[in-house]
């Protein structure tokens, strides 16, 4: 027999107090400020904004502090906060072609107009630990050169002129929003991109890597990668016109993929697209590869049965808050469920033993 019990309030309160104390760590060490996290752990802040799906660096920094640096816990906090915000509306689609680029590189065209601008990248560092940072920090000042004032054109524009790359026709179809309507399959490309941009970086990276290793390989080149700020505009009904309501930092990756043609499409280059809040280079490249893999049906390619081609598999498992919620709930009390399983196994065991014992008794 099982009796429901209630309790644990005292233990939970004390656990919360201990959590707060452990979060603070030794009081001999100066406490971290939100501004320090925002400025000095900015790539962690960016990841929390991207996967929390809310651009607000101060909030993301607070979440990281509260979560003791557990980024998925921090993303959870941001997602929870996000649901409390009244939605004022939807922006006009941002113009990434007008981005003020901190970084802009192309693996396909050396001499692209605007040039190869490396920006503050890890790429050419030697990945050797810098013990100077442990000692006395850093006050390096970045050199400056004559700033570019005009917008930097997208690489894909050049290939378009030759009609050798698949077009992205502009439309004004209203996209679905998975924060408002549950995802249904088959999905649409706009919904897939929304799901991928807020998906877990590790998961999207793993999926993208699987395509590179041969599970629906799509021969991707990074046509262009750019990082920088873009203005966000929204129509304000009471004004009757659009204004800028702010700016967001974005990382955009467009892959150019070799494509031999299909029943419906001539041989040409195709495209995969990644766009992520903040400086999130790995994520946006991975997103572009997975986006391209998921486009097999639209491009008339074969379904090779690869995981990255299966949109239900990819989109249903990309969200780390859904995943961690379901995963971690199994550590919470399941006393009743387990009690019934225990009864069942005991009964099976008894029956099995009874089948054996009569024989023994007869001997």
């Amino acid at each position: 027999m099982y009796v429901a019990v209630k309790g644990g309030e005292k233990a939970i309160d004390n656990a919360h107090s201990w959590l707060a104390e452990e979060r603070r760590g030794s009081t001999d060490i100066v406490e971290l400020s939100i501004a320090q996290i925002r400025e000095q752990l900015s790539l962690a802040v960016n990841r929390v904004m991207a996967e929390g799906s809310l651009f607000d660096p101060d909030l993301a920094a607070l979440a990281i502090k509260q979560a003791r640096g557990d980024l998925i816990e921090a993303i959870f906090l941001i997602r929870a906060y996000r649901t409390t915000l009244p939605r004022f509306g939807y922006s006009i689609p941002v113009q990434t072609g007008d981005m003020a680029c901190d970084r802009r590189i192309s693996a396909t065209f050396k001499d692209a107009p605007g040039g190869q601008v490396l920006g503050p990248t890890f790429d050419y560092t030697h990945r050797l630990l810098d013990f100077k940072l442990a000692a006395d920090g850093n006050d390096t000042v970045a050199p400056m050169a004559g700033p570019r004032t005009e917008p930097t054109p997208h690489i894909a524009e050049f290939l378009k002129g030759e009609d050798i790359i698949q077009d992205e026709p502009t439309s004004d179809d209203l996209p679905g929003d998975l924060t408002r309507e549950p995802m249904e399959f088959p999905s649409t490309r706009p919904l897939r991109l929304q799901s991928l941009t807020r998906g877990d970086e590790g998961f999207v990276l793993g999926m993208a890597y699987s395509t590179q290793r041969g599970y629906a390989r799509n021969h991707a080149f990074v046509g262009e990668l750019r990082i920088g700020k873009v203005a966000v505009e929204m129509d304000i009904p009471e004004l009757g016109f659009a204004i800028e309501i702010g700016e967001v930092e974005l990382t955009e990756c467009e892959t150019v993929n070799q494509f031999k043609g299909s029943k419906t499409e001539p041989p040409q280059f195709t495209r995969g697209y990644g766009l992520v809040f903040g400086q999130s280079e790995r994520k946006s490249i991975a997103m572009a590869l997975v986006d391209r893999a998921l486009r097999w049906k639209e491009l008339g390619e074969d379904n090779l049965g690869a995981p990255a081609q299966d949109e239900e598999f990819v989109l249903s498992h990309a969200d780390n808050i859904q995943a961690t919620g379901f995963l971690e709930h199994i550590k919470l009390p399941h006393y009743v469920d387990f009690q019934s399983e225990l009864e069942l196994v005991r009964k099976l065991r008894r029956e099995a033993e009874e089948r054996i014992t009569p024989k023994e008794a007869a001997e």
Binding site: R87, F88, G89, R180, P237, E238
Partner: protein
């Protein structure tokens, strides 16, 4: 302030007033036949205070609103847009439709939901001359034995409840009073 009617007439203290209004809306929907006061908004004519307060409480940029007949004025549209950002649409795609019963009845294509998503249906806010606990008899979920409400029609509401779990839901508004009729309620004429 009268120079800017579209900007005035909102909640003075939105979180509190919207919470009270939501409570009233929820209560009348859960207890068909019950009449409650609902106030806070001062909408442009011809909207009643109750209908205006419901709109401010229930609408945002994701809820599509249809104004039927006399309620569809420039002042009403601007007022709703400023305070809620709700898009104004045709009857067939509305989440909320507002008007007198006669005006609302000129359309018969309100959304009734789908078998997978019965919630994708319209809620009609019916402006009434009077609202009283007499007339039609109501039975069903949320009603102990029976209740009564002065519905503007009988057959149409009976047809709607026959669609259950699909169908529309209704609020009835009159000055600062509100009542409701969900699709789950059974309607019989007279008392």
């Amino acid at each position: 302030m009268s120079a800017h009617p579209q900007f005035s007439g909102g909640f003075a203290n939105a979180p509190i007033e919207a919470a009270h209004a939501f409570r009233a809306a929820m209560t009348v929907m859960a207890r068909p036949g019950e009449i409650r006061s609902i106030a806070g908004a001062r909408p442009p004519k011809p909207l009643s205070q109750a209908a205006g307060t419901l709109l401010l409480t229930l609408c945002d940029p994701d809820t599509r609103v249809f104004f039927a007949g006399a309620t569809d004025t420039a002042a009403v549209r601007q007022w709703l847009t400023f305070h809620t950002g709700a898009p104004i649409v045709e009857a067939s795609s509305a989440d909320f439709a507002v008007g007198t019963w006669a005006d609302l009845q000129r359309n018969s294509n309100y959304r009734i939901g789908t078998p997978e998503y019965p919630d994708r249906s319209a809620t009609l806010i019916v402006e009434c001359e009077t609202l009283a606990q007499n007339g039609t008899t109501l039975t069903g979920p949320g009603i102990r034995d029976r209740s009564q409400l002065s519905l503007p029609d009988v057959a149409v509401f009976q047809d709607n409840s026959a669609l259950y779990p699909l169908g529309c839901d209704f609020f009835f508004t009159c000055r600062d009073k509100v009542a409701a009729l969900p699709r789950s309620t059974q309607i019989t004429a007279g008392s």
